[in-house]
């Protein structure tokens, strides 16, 4: 995930302080891992160093002084280019569930019991996300992020179901050989 491009995207709406950028990020991406302040400030400094953002001024509002940043023209171009680039579709298959099943088969473990427990955990998370997105007054960002997670969990589940069926077939083949 490119934090610098997400910050540039948030700055496209107008100049902002690091604190506001963090808050707006967490609002726009409600089910994502919240941004750390340190990460926001480091990223902003790098954007300035690379000419993609610049300091517009400082405000204090009676409290500590806060630096206000804005995007530059180079920043806007960089953002447009990134937003239109395709994300590589699953270049590597490195999934913990997949790895555990393979290792379990190799070591004579019990992948079937593991898959059942994993499936139950996935379903429990899907019920939580469904409750979040169907709650009265849920905003669009919440619905979209819950949908994204639900579709990915659903894909995992379908893979787990097929794999469990294949394990049964495989065991039957071994037993009858």
């Amino acid at each position: 995930m490119s934090i610098r491009h997400i910050l540039l995207g948030l700055l496209a709406g107008g100049p902002s302080h690091g604190y506001d950028l963090k808050r707006r990020h967490d609002e726009r991406f409600p089910e994502a891992r919240p941004l750390a302040y340190g990460q926001v400030y480091t990223t902003l400094q790098r954007l300035v160093r690379d000419g993609l953002a610049e300091v517009e001024g400082t405000d204090s509002d009676g409290g500590p002084e806060r630096t206000r940043y804005r995007s530059t023209e180079a920043g806007a171009r960089e953002l447009a280019e990134w937003a239109g680039q395709i994300a590589p579709p699953a270049p590597f298959v490195t999934n913990e569930i997949f790895a555990k099943v393979v290792v379990s088969i190799l070591s004579g473990g019990d992948p079937d019991t593991y898959l059942r427990a994993q499936r139950a955990a996935h379903m429990a998370r899907m019920r939580e996300l469904t409750a979040v997105k169907t709650a009265k007054g849920a905003d669009l960002a919440t619905v979209l992020s819950a949908d994204y997670a639900l579709n990915h969990l659903d894909a995992d589940l379908r893979w787990m179901t097929t794999t469990a069926a294949r394990l049964t077939t495989l065991t039957a083949e071994v037993d009858s050989a």
Partner: protein, 232 residues
């Protein structure tokens, strides 16, 4: 929740259900319970026995072995008249293709159970209009099923299933023919209404995203209920 003495009795319970169609055993000892107001998803692959389980639990088909009890009373020991009354007033059923009557408009379809129960046409129509409103299809009240989208027809079918205030709605793949957005609207309408009215739902689905609307899931394989695994 129904109680008999000190023991809590489930609203609906199937025990050791066996059902064969010719040489094919669709159910091989399936057991399941549904509590009052609970939304239960029954999942499993095609041919795992989900629909046959629903038919037995809803009293549409009798099991070859095992028993189905509603509020502690065995369905197979009820007189046919009482069973048919149960199916009409306390059970609501929705299938994959709503089974609306094609010649009737949406409002006439939804009013039908009330007319059969003896309400006047005016009263039945007023209440049917309110139920169409709850499911967001009041604007389609004058349309026949063929003139509605799949999602609108399913929401109309749900309104018809819920209008009599049943204790249980049996829904067999209610979103099976819908795209994901229409499916979401149907499920949200079903779950919100069921929770408001305290209606239990037995939801048959092969779709995990639909099952995620339920409070609990039981999974079927080869005609029996299998353990779903323990969440740590």
């Amino acid at each position: 929740m129904n109680t008999k003495g000190d023991i809590t009795v489930p609203l609906l319970e199937g025990r050791g259900l066996v059902k064969a169609y010719g040489p094919t055993e669709a159910l091989r000892g399936a057991s399941v319970r549904l509590d009052a107001g609970e939304i239960l998803a029954v999942t499993g692959t095609s041919g795992s026995g989900k629909s046959t389980l629903l038919h037995c639990l809803a009293g549409i088909a009798g099991p070859d072995e095992g028993s189905v009890s509603y509020g502690g009373e065995r369905l197979d020991r009820l007189p046919e008249k009482r069973l048919s009354e149960l199916r009409r007033t306390e059970f609501g059923v929705v299938f994959q293709f709503g089974q609306l009557i094609p010649e009737l408009t949406a409002v006439d379809n939804v009013a039908l159970p009330l007319l059969l129960a003896g309400l006047t046409r005016a009263d039945a129509h007023t209440r049917a209009g309110e139920w169409l409103e709850r499911f967001g299809v009041r604007g389609q009240a004058g349309l026949r099923p063929g003139e509605m989208s799949g999602g609108q027809a399913q929401r109309t079918a749900l309104a018809r299933a819920l209008i009599t205030g049943p204790k249980i709605v049996f829904a067999d793949e209610p979103t099976g023919a819908l795209d994901s957005l229409a499916s979401e609207q149907v499920m949200t309408a079903l779950v919100h209404t069921a929770r408001e009215s305290g209606t239990a739902v037995l939801l048959i689905t092969h779709d995990a995203q639909v099952a995620a609307y339920a409070d609990r899931e039981v999974r079927m394989a080869d005609g029996a209920v299998v353990p779903v695994g323990v969440t740590a």
